[in-house]
Symmetry: C2
Subunit: 203 residues, 2 copies
């Protein structure tokens, strides 16, 4: 899986060769076909890894901080998790029509919508904020910033773009008292993960 994700991440779906994946994984063709029947099968498994990696938000002082953390933690994990990067590339690649790429968009939208609706119930959102509109807006915008940072050869920039997206979007949906307390700065993903780890250690 890791070898497949690496090759998909570097080459994209169309250009990825099974022989390269076999070589990188150091397995025989027979061993691979025991688990996966085709390149398409492998690609689906890598894409599914992204969907199953959709996190359970870590509890924060506000639901809007949990909403922001979804994207900030993901941006941080993109720098460390190869399978996630391969999965994102397969999702954003439009080349091979046989892969369904709508799955991750829907999963991420559902997660964002759920947390936004909780924020709304707690009175953290401005009255006119439409969660059904904002959830897919953030998912689509986030995907594009990811794609742009790859096209401009700065994949590590995603932490900066995610921060920028939230800082410019949240003022139009958050009540000022909550807005003022949000951490949307670069490095938030790493900080949130470190805090969660520290909490687990003390618990």
């Amino acid at each position: 899986m890791e070898a497949a994700a690496t090759v998909f991440d570097e080459r994209g779906y169309e250009a990825a060769k099974l022989t390269d994946i076999l070589q990188l994984a150091q397995v025989t063709k027979g061993a691979l076909y025991f688990h996966f029947h085709s390149k398409e099968d492998l690609a689906h498994a890598v894409i599914d890894a992204q969907v199953s990696a959709v996190p359970v938000p870590m509890p924060q002082v506000s639901k809007l901080q949990e909403f922001v953390d979804i994207g900030m933690v993901f941006a941080h994990r993109l720098t460390t998790d190869r399978v996630l990067r391969g999965s994102v590339r397969l999702t954003l690649d439009q080349g091979g029509n046989e892969l369904s790429r709508s799955g991750p968009y829907r999963e991420w939208t559902e997660l964002n919508l759920r947390v936004l609706n909780e924020a709304k119930e707690r009175g953290e959102l401005l009255p006119h904020a439409d969660t059904e509109e904002v959830a897919p807006l953030v998912v689509g915008a986030y995907a594009g910033l990811n794609l742009m940072s790859q096209a401009l050869n700065n994949p590590a920039d995603m932490d900066r773009w995610a921060s920028s997206l939230y800082r410019h979007l949240l003022p139009s949906i958050a009540v000022p008292a909550v807005l003022a307390m949000l951490d949307m700065e670069q490095g938030r993903g790493a900080r949130a993960l470190a805090a969660a780890e520290a909490a687990t250690t003390t618990a």
Copy 2:
């Protein structure tokens, strides 16, 4: 060019076949090779068409309205211009590494930056608004919403997404008096084009 853009739009770069383009254009291989030496050549020409289609903003009451119109007019033109759609797909496709896809991101960012800087000079932006940050943010987010609407098989949705993006972004950068006067609603692209046409007819 139109035939090539159509095939690239439907299949993407990797899967597009020169024979399909020849058939759709109803030209011989010899005639095609007189103008273009390869599929890559053709793709570059289609991508360049997008860059040369980067519009000169039509004068509006505020520079921020011109900024909004860049994206709203483009969203409208995507529904009517096949070459533009093919070009966008080639830009967003990550498949063929031999194509440089950073060009359009840079061109659109430069255009947005120029108009935003004019808005800033006229006092239409909040003091903290960073035009160097906002210009690429809008371009990347816009590209992703385009990609998502294609992945979810609703390419016509771009008018709605562009409107949503601007309505959620502008409150964090525009001074309230200008913000209140902006038309960022769906159909703005068609309205702006119709107004420009009417102005040309009377002139």
